[in-house]
């Protein structure tokens, strides 16, 4: 591919895609804040798995609850 080809395609692209206005016209902080409020922190699946596993272990080996409580 020649430099001429490159320039040709660059010019064609610049003509096909007019320049965009890169200036932000409004403050986005209120929208960010709304989004932060709208999405409570979700507990990841592996935390649920750990809770389930612990519950299962304590169900079958209740004496471990005391060991666990001692280490808290």
């Amino acid at each position: 591919m020649t430099e001429h080809d490159d320039r040709q395609i660059r010019e064609a692209l610049q003509q096909s895609f007019p320049p965009v206005d890169t200036e932000l016209r409004r403050d986005l902080w209120p929208a960010v804040l709304r989004k932060l409020d709208a999405r409570p922190v979700r507990v990841p699946w592996y935390d649920w798995a750990l809770i389930g596993l612990s519950a299962g272990v304590f169900l079958f080996f209740p004496q471990l609850i005391l060991v666990f409580a001692y280490h808290l």
Binding site: L13, F17, T22
Partner: protein, 172 residues
């Protein structure tokens, strides 16, 4: 305590200061890639939200702007991946470059369409390098890759684009 440290600790007023300071830069970067102001605003909000969510991964002694730009670039790339051209290109017999303004518009539309069919990573690299004429090191940083990889992506984008345009009979 400095602003970035307060941000990593989740202090909302520190985050607000950062948002006000960087939202313009983030928006400008995203709009250059997606080329739609409405979508760029939405993606900027999403970027800022993700930045806050990932605050603990940020080192307070690091540089905030490139980190934010990388998150923004990833979101813009996701958008390009989701967005595919609605119509396929119609083949046209090859002919001389059009001089009629209407034909010229049609040619540009076909070029835009062919460009949007490029894989997202190639499209983003080519947009920033060829249309926006951003420095390659800046593009590499935002894409999380090397300058060599950016050059390769631009080269591949041009090669694919040229072939697609040739197939539909468009000569740029």
């Amino acid at each position: 305590m400095d602003l970035l440290r307060r941000f990593t600790l989740g202090e909302i007023s520190a985050f607000e200061t950062l948002v006000r300071q960087f939202q313009g830069d983030i928006y400008a970067w995203i709009v250059r890639i997606v080329r739609d102001p409405g979508i760029a605003e939405d993606l900027t909000v999403e970027t800022l939200w993700r930045i806050y969510r990932a605050r603990q991964q940020f080192r307070p002694d690091g540089n905030f702007a490139p980190w934010a730009r990388r998150i923004a670039t990833n979101l813009a790339l996701d958008h390009l991946r989701r967005k595919s051209p609605e119509h396929s290109l119609l083949a046209d017999p090859a002919g001389p470059p059009p001089h009629d303004p209407l034909l010229q518009q049609e040619t540009w539309e076909k070029i835009r369409h062919a460009f949007r069919r490029l894989p997202a990573k190639l499209q983003a690299a080519a947009t920033l390098a060829l249309i926006e004429e951003r420095p390659y090191d800046e593009i590499a940083d935002a894409l999380g890759t090397s300058v060599g990889a950016v050059s390769l992506r631009v080269f591949r984008a041009v090669r694919i684009l040229r072939k697609q345009l040739k197939d539909i009979g468009v000569r740029p």
